[in-house]
C-alpha cells in the first residue's frame, strides 16, 4: 500500500480551499501530491493511505477541495474502494470525508458542476479516469 502523510509530505499547517486564498491550499495539495499518488496506486492495484495526523489542524474546505477533486477525476466508487483516510487525532474528518465530501462531490459531478482552478498558472497536466483508463491532461483552466 502507498501512503501520503500530509505533515511530512506537504505541510504542517494545511491552508484554505483554493490556491488564490493562501499557501498550502487543498487545491495545491491535490495537484502537487494527491492526484499523482492516487493514480499511481490505482495503476499498481494498490490502495492509497492518506494520513491526516500531526498537522496543526484543518480547514474543512481544504479537505473538501482535495478529496472532492479526487472524486471528480476518478469517480466516487474508485475513490471509496481505493482511498483509506487515517485521522486518529480528529476522527471527525474521516466521518466528514466519508459521509459528506465524497457523496456531495459525486452529486456535483453528476450535476455538471466543474471544480474551480485558481493557481496563477494552469496546473500541470493531471490524471483523470475516463472509461476505466487513466488519461493525463489540463482538464480545467485556471481562473484567478
Amino acid at each position: 500500500m502507498s501512503e501520503i502523510k500530509i505533515l511530512t509530505q506537504f505541510s504542517e499547517s494545511p491552508g484554505p480551499r483554493y490556491c488564490r486564498q493562501g499557501r498550502w491550499s487543498g487545491e495545491q495539495f491535490y495537484h502537487d501530491i494527491l492526484n499523482q499518488a492516487f493514480a499511481e496506486a490505482y495503476q499498481n492495484g494498490d490502495k492509497l493511505i492518506l494520513d491526516l495526523d500531526g498537522t496543526d489542524g484543518y480547514m474543512s474546505s481544504f479537505l473538501d477541495e482535495a478529496i472532492g477533486n479526487l472524486v471528480y477525476d476518478f469517480g466516487m466508487q474508485v475513490v471509496t474502494d481505493n482511498l483509506i483516510v487515517i485521522s486518529r487525532e480528529e476522527p471527525v474528518w474521516k466521518k466528514v470525508i466519508d459521509n459528506e465530501v465524497i457523496p456531495e462531490w459525486n452529486k456535483y459531478k453528476d450535476g455538471g458542476t466543474t471544480p474551480k482552478k485558481t493557481s496563477k498558472k494552469n496546473h500541470p497536466a493531471w490524471f483523470r479516469l475516463i472509461d476505466g483508463e487513466l488519461k493525463k491532461g489540463v482538464w480545467i483552466l485556471s481562473t484567478t
Binding site: P16, D56, G57, M59, S60, E89, E90, V92, V96
Partner: protein, 165 residues
C-alpha cells in the same frame, strides 16, 4: 479452696459461637460502612468533580474562541489549531467519562460541527492569510446559535455526571 469445674453444655457452646460469628460479621459490616463505602463515595465524587471541572474548562475556552472569532480578534491559523486542541481534549474527557461512569455523552460533536461550519465558510477561506477574521453577519449569527447549543449540552452533560449514583 475447692475448684469448681463447670462443664458447658453443648447448647451453650453453639450460642457462644453464634455470638462470636455475629460479632465478627457485625464488625465487618461496620468496617465496610465506616470505611469502604465513604471512601468509594469520595473517590466517585472526586472523579465526577474532576470530569466536571475539565468539561467546564473546555466550555470556557470554547466560548472564548467563539468570542475572539466574533469580535474580529482571531486569525484562521490560530482558530483551526485551537479547534483541534479543544476537540482532542474534549474527545479524551468524553471517552473517559463514558467509560468510567457508563454514560453516553456526546458533547464533542457540537465543537466538531462548529469547527466544520466555520472552517468551511467562504469568507474565512478568503481571509485565510489576514491578520484578523471578519465574519459575515449570517455566519456570526450561526456561530452564536452553535455556541448556545454547545453550552446547553455541556450543562446537561454536567447534570448527568452528577446524577450518576
Amino acid at each position: 479452696m475447692d475448684i469448681v469445674y463447670y462443664i458447658m453444655p453443648l447448647s451453650d457452646l453453639t450460642d457462644w459461637v453464634s455470638i462470636g460469628v455475629d460479632l465478627v460479621v457485625g464488625l465487618m459490616i461496620g468496617g465496610v460502612l465506616a470505611y469502604f463505602i465513604p471512601k468509594r463515595l469520595n473517590d466517585s465524587r472526586s472523579l465526577k468533580d474532576f470530569y466536571i471541572s475539565e468539561i467546564r474548562d473546555v466550555k470556557v475556552e470554547f466560548n472564548e474562541l467563539c468570542k475572539q472569532i466574533s469580535i474580529g480578534k482571531m486569525n484562521a491559523v490560530v482558530m483551526k489549531e485551537t479547534f483541534k486542541q479543544l476537540s482532542i481534549r474534549l474527545n479524551d474527557i468524553q471517552y473517559s467519562v463514558n467509560n468510567h461512569l457508563k454514560l453516553d455523552l456526546n458533547i464533542v460533536s457540537f465543537i466538531e460541527s462548529t469547527q466544520g461550519f466555520i472552517t468551511s465558510a467562504d469568507e474565512i477561506n478568503e481571509q485565510y492569510e489576514s491578520k484578523y477574521l471578519i465574519l459575515a453577519s449570517a455566519t456570526k449569527r450561526e456561530l452564536v446559535k452553535r455556541q448556545e447549543l454547545f453550552n446547553r449540552n455541556v450543562l446537561s452533560a454536567i447534570a448527568r455526571i452528577n446524577d450518576v449514583g
